[in-house]
């Protein structure tokens, strides 16, 4: 079957698409930043925090692993304002929902990294007269962080992919712009081909770098 392609409408709207791409990248960067901070805090609190805090944190992490990110996003944008009385603009609602979701995965990575350092090392550090904080900061975390690095890389590519879901609450990021353009230009095939090419060109270098990091760093920090 013959299909004639016409990229004219796409080229004519390059500014519009570039704006969408900028928003995708900004949302991804902010989401990664927020979920690293939040997830790091949750992961540390789960491992070293008071006992009573652990149960609610585990409940939060497991719930986020059980609920689709779309549901968190839609609930946060449409239902949460009815409870809290505060309506966030779509971009900030998406940032909050994505961060809360992805932070749970970050917390799991942090925990796995910390637990991968053998407890004997902490005991040895304590026996040498280090305080608990010193043992964690100078012995456990430096080794754990190296092991977490590749997994944080995967979080980056997962986040970029998940920001596309923000289009559902009308954040004008790249996928949302493509949808608009596909409807207006009557050239959906061209629009979606270009969208696939654009996302691939952003994500492929990230996943390649992560694969290389896994291969390089897997042997480091082994004890």
């Amino acid at each position: 079957m013959e299909i004639d392609l016409d990229f004219g409408p796409l080229i004519a709207s390059w500014r519009f698409l570039l704006g969408g791409l900028g928003l995708t990248l900004a949302l991804s960067a902010l989401t990664v930043l927020c979920s690293l901070v939040l997830g790091g805090a949750v992961g540390l609190a789960r491992c070293y925090g008071p006992r009573w805090l652990r149960w609610p944190l585990v409940f939060y992490i497991d719930s986020m692993r059980a609920i689709p990110v779309l549901v968190v996003l839609v609930w946060g944008y449409f239902a949460l304002p009815l409870v809290s009385g505060v309506t966030l603009p779509p971009f900030w609602a998406a940032l909050a929902a994505l961060s809360v979701h992805i932070a749970a995965y970050v917390a799991e990575i942090v925990r796995a990294g910390i637990e991968s350092v053998r407890p004997g090392q902490t005991r040895a550090a304590l026996a040498l007269g280090m305080s608990r904080a010193e043992a964690v900061c100078q012995v456990v975390l430096p080794q754990a962080l190296v092991r977490m690095l590749p997994a944080f890389g995967s979080i980056l590519s997962i986040t970029i992919k998940d920001t596309a879901i923000a289009s559902v609450i009308a954040v004008p990021e790249y996928l949302n712009c493509s949808q608009t353009l596909a409807g207006q230009s009557f050239r959906p095939i061209e629009v979606w081909f270009v969208a696939m090419a654009v996302y691939f060109m952003i994500l492929f270098p990230v996943t390649r770098a992560v694969d290389i990091a896994y291969a390089r760093l897997a042997s480091l920090g082994r004890s």
Partner: protein, 219 residues
């Protein structure tokens, strides 16, 4: 603010039907994606270079696209290029199966490659055929490593089926959001949707953790 939870019970049948379609879609996708993944892994590990390259290209392509984009692209491109009109369910099935096959292919390949070469060489030296080596030495061990990863892929897939609500597949998320916009009971319906996903997904996530503990590789 007044809450009217009766709306949830009134629509319990529709929600249950939506959940049924969610489960059905996830099962159908996995049934396609396991053979798909095996095929991709075999191609990737085969000595025939074009096959290996084709498999790598397919895998990298679908691993590096947002699933939502694949769903939209399938929705627009499939009917226009094939000339066949796909139902939303069939479109969703194609998009999800392509995505999950790519992940499964990597899982199977990594599982097979994680068994040290020395074992196959030893088995070959003992006079086993290549097929025997695969069946009796490599696969039984690889299966233990593949099982937990496959379970996490399943949990992700189960959640990802919610994305096909954008092309109007009548699964759980679509059903709940449709009732929300008809009844204006936003908080009740969206909370019910989240609660149902939680109730279905939580045990699956816990079961996956158990599989990792049970079969996890300890070194």
């Amino acid at each position: 603010m007044t809450l009217d939870w009766a709306i949830v019970w009134e629509n319990a049948g529709a929600l249950a039907r939506g959940a049924e379609i969610t489960v059905l879609l996830a099962v159908a996708t996995m049934l396609l994606a396991i053979p798909g993944g095996v095929l991709l892994a075999l191609m990737r590990l085969s000595p025939v270079r074009p096959l290996a390259l084709a498999s790598a290209g397919f895998t990298e392509f679908f691993r590096n696209l947002p699933l939502l984009l694949v769903i939209y692209a399938a929705y627009y491109i499939l009917p226009l290029t094939t000339g066949i009109s796909f139902s939303p369910f069939a479109t969703a099935l194609v998009a999800l199966a392509l995505n999950v096959s790519a992940y499964n292919g990597e899982t199977f390949r990594a599982g097979i490659q994680s068994i040290r070469k020395g074992q196959s060489e030893a088995a070959l030296a003992l006079g086993m055929s290549r097929a025997q080596v695969m069946r009796e030495v490599v696969l039984p061990q690889a299966a233990r490593r593949i099982a937990p990863v496959l379970a996490s892929t399943w949990v992700s897939l189960f959640k990802d089926t919610s994305l096909v609500s954008v092309i109007a597949v009548g699964e759980l998320a679509y059903t709940a959001m449709r009732i929300r916009s008809q009844s204006f009971r936003v908080l009740e319906m969206l909370t019910a949707m989240a609660a149902i996903y939680w109730a279905l997904g939580y045990p699956q996530a816990k079961l996956t953790d158990w599989l990792y503990r049970r079969f996890g590789v300890r070194e």
